[in-house]
């Protein structure tokens, strides 16, 4: 029986956003008997609704509210109003994610200690480490059904993977496999359907083989009777009382009417752009710089991973679009080895795009025969994606636009990002290794493509031991306001080289445990 809570019920936990952070937190709290109202800006789409058509799916799921961009990153030029490729729907970007689920490496929790001070970077150690997170990662891997963990076999390799694997092994790489994926790989190692190698992982899995909060944690939470999800509810502002405790949220409901929901605790999980935007838009007389912003770190240290792609063209067909999009990884470059000319490391993962998105992302803005001769060989292409650790920088940040407004008249976010020299050195290294992989298996042509709008958005409410250096403590609780939590990737202190979802989920499970025990103890 799905719960329904009163707007004036001030005993509920309000969670803003229902993705990897908010969706998991909502279910975990509901399972523990905590009453939760989850406010989701998007609508509810399930596997039968997903569209295996790139542009149509983008129109259905993507977050396309007004945003502006600045900085020297190429996304600001190529996609000036679209800094991110994320989802506005129940389940958030867990609908779109490809399923890659890998743990941080131990050294990455302590980037400042292990990399040392880097000019221009705002590096900091996380207040937690690999040992602290290990049991939470175990739970996250079980929840997501990650392949190559527990008794779950790896996925079979697709054509795109086979080219990738042979190229990697030709270069001497040894940590090469079909990935740790939150995609069911056999009929008897989980409750979902096994992967049918359909492609279109980015458009929502029509089989439900990939883990998404939309059809796992959200309905499981609702089944407890403790969770109410209000879809198409866009939070405008968080309210507080004279003691500084947060008390309620104002949101525009599905009819565009402003509503106020009272709360005992508020957890913000609106993704790394919207979460700091909401704190900034909630500025008050008591908190003129925005909520939980005494450190001035809200919105700063925006990270989006060092990314880019490499495509190899061969004299014979590959048909990279067939099968699981990202089931392939090389981890040999993920370690920290500053002799390569940069700190931190990167993963190489298989990737494919359909013809329409390949045309849009291959070399945005380019035209003429150099461009089209690449597309002419689409059937003979193999592709990979780079995911590396980018460095936090104070001025890479989300701020409120002075002019641009969203559909509700609220100041839109501006996303400013410029590459750090370390990011550029890493990307160039990864491009060269990717090209070498494909040339080792006979590519007649290989080319890099620039970063796409960001799907990994991190760091704008970062976790810190010292309240002066970050926004939240090791529980994701804001340093300034005891009953205000951050529950998404914006709490990342540094980005590490890994796809972030598994870590967001592990942190959310851990945070739910903490919040429930603090509530029981009456401390919040």
């Amino acid at each position: 029986m799905v719960a329904k809570f009163d707007l004036n019920d001030d005993s509920v936990v309000v969670i803003i956003g229902t993705g990897a952070g908010g969706g998991v937190l909502a279910n975990e709290l509901a399972q523990k008997g905590v009453k939760v109202v989850a406010l989701e800006a998007g609508g509810r789409y399930l596997p039968e609704d997903y569209l295996n058509d790139e542009w149509a799916s983008f129109g259905q799921l993507a977050w396309t509210d007004t945003r502006t961009t600045s900085g020297d990153w190429r996304v600001a030029k190529d996609f000036s109003g679209l800094p991110t490729w994320i989802v506005k729907a129940v389940g958030g970007t867990t609908t779109h994610w490809a399923g890659a689920s890998i743990r941080f490496q131990d050294h990455e929790w302590k980037a400042l200690t292990n990399y040392g001070k880097v000019d221009g970077a705002n590096l900091l150690d996380w207040p937690i480490d690999g040992a602290e997170m290990a049991p939470w990662y175990d739970k996250a891997e079980e929840k997501l059904g990650v392949t190559r963990t527990g008794n779950r076999p790896g996925l079979p390799g697709s054509n795109n993977y086979k080219v990738f694997e042979k190229g990697a092994k030709s270069l001497g790489y040894t940590q090469v496999h079909t990935g740790r994926m939150a995609i069911q790989s056999s009929d008897d190692t989980g409750n979902r359907v096994a992967c049918q190698q359909t492609g279109f992982c980015f458009q929502g899995c029509k089989w439900g083989a990939k883990w998404s909060a939309a059809y796992t944690d959200i309905p499981e939470g609702e089944a407890t009777g403790n969770l109410e999800v209000r879809e198409r509810s866009h939070v405008a502002k968080i309210l507080h009382d004279e003691t500084g405790k947060v008390t309620a949220v104002e949101y525009f409901d599905k009819d565009g009417k402003l509503q106020t929901q009272k709360a005992r605790i508020i957890c913000v999980a609106g993704n790394t752009i919207e979460s700091p935007r909401l704190l900034l838009n909630s500025a008050s007389e008591m908190f003129p710089n925005g909520l939980a912003n005494s450190s001035d770190q809200v919105g700063r240290n925006y990270m989006r991973h060092v990314t880019g792609s490499v495509y190899g063209v061969f004299d014979k067909p590959v048909r990279m679009w067939r099968g699981t999009t990202m089931a392939g990884i090389v981890q040999d470059e993920a370690h920290h080895a500053p002799e390569r000319g940069f700190v931190g490391g990167y993963e190489l993962e298989t990737l494919s795009l359909g013809l329409p998105f390949m045309a849009a992302f291959l070399d945005p803005g380019a035209w003429g025969r150099e461009f089209t001769s690449g597309l002419d060989s689409y059937e003979n292409m193999a592709g990979l994606w780079i995911v590396g650790e980018d460095l936090p920088q104070a001025d890479n940040r989300v701020t409120l636009s002075k002019d641009a407004k969203d559909q509700f008249g609220l100041p839109a976010p501006n996303v400013n990002y410029s590459d750090h020299p370390n990011d550029i050195a890493m990307r160039n290294h990864a491009y060269a290794r990717g090209v070498a992989m494909y040339e080792a298996v006979g590519a007649t042509r290989a080319f890099p493509t620039p970063p796409y709008p960001s799907t990994h958005n991190l760091g704008t409410n970062r976790m810190s031991e010292d309240p002066k250096l970050g926004v939240v403590n090791k529980w994701g609780q804001t340093h300034d306001i005891a009953n205000l939590f951050i529950s998404d990737g914006s709490q990342f202190t540094t980005g590490a080289a890994e796809n972030p979802t598994l870590t967001i989920v592990a942190l959310a499970i851990r945070q739910a445990d903490h919040i429930a025990s603090e509530m029981a103890a009456g401390t919040i």
Partner: protein, 173 residues
Amino acid sequence: MTQEHLKGITRRALLSRSMATWALAVSGAGFIAAPDAAWALEVAVITPEQMATLMQMARDIYPHDKVADQYYAIAVKGYDSADSKDMVAAGIDELNAAAVAQGHASYLAIGWEKDRVKVLQAIETGVFFQTVRAGLVTGLYNQKEIWPIFGYEGESFSQGGYINRGFDDINWL
């Protein structure tokens, strides 16, 4: 523009495209048609010559020799509207002025692709060129009918995915 003039341009255009299997013709009566009458495109608001210019631009921007003219026509036919009319007229004037500046009668009158590309390069930072180019990214490549020309198969869910249909059938590695 006189009928005579249109025919002259069309004749030159035809000559310039003698390597093509067939080429489009501006009929002068609100139609652009393939010479073999395989298809025709009626224009309502802009002139046939403007439509022919847009189609040539589309092919010069994203030239795929295996993709027939009709798909480029579909990609730009949205400009035949009251909303786009003024933008198209001003843009083509800019394009033709650039052609004249490079010693040609007009953009469509240029015989060789490499010479037309030079004219396009002269206006490529302008709003008109960028609007047409950006529109083609979806207008051309999102036509399902052209996907097979590139080997792309589109959705596979309706056929049960590729698990039994070749997701791992590569045989040349």
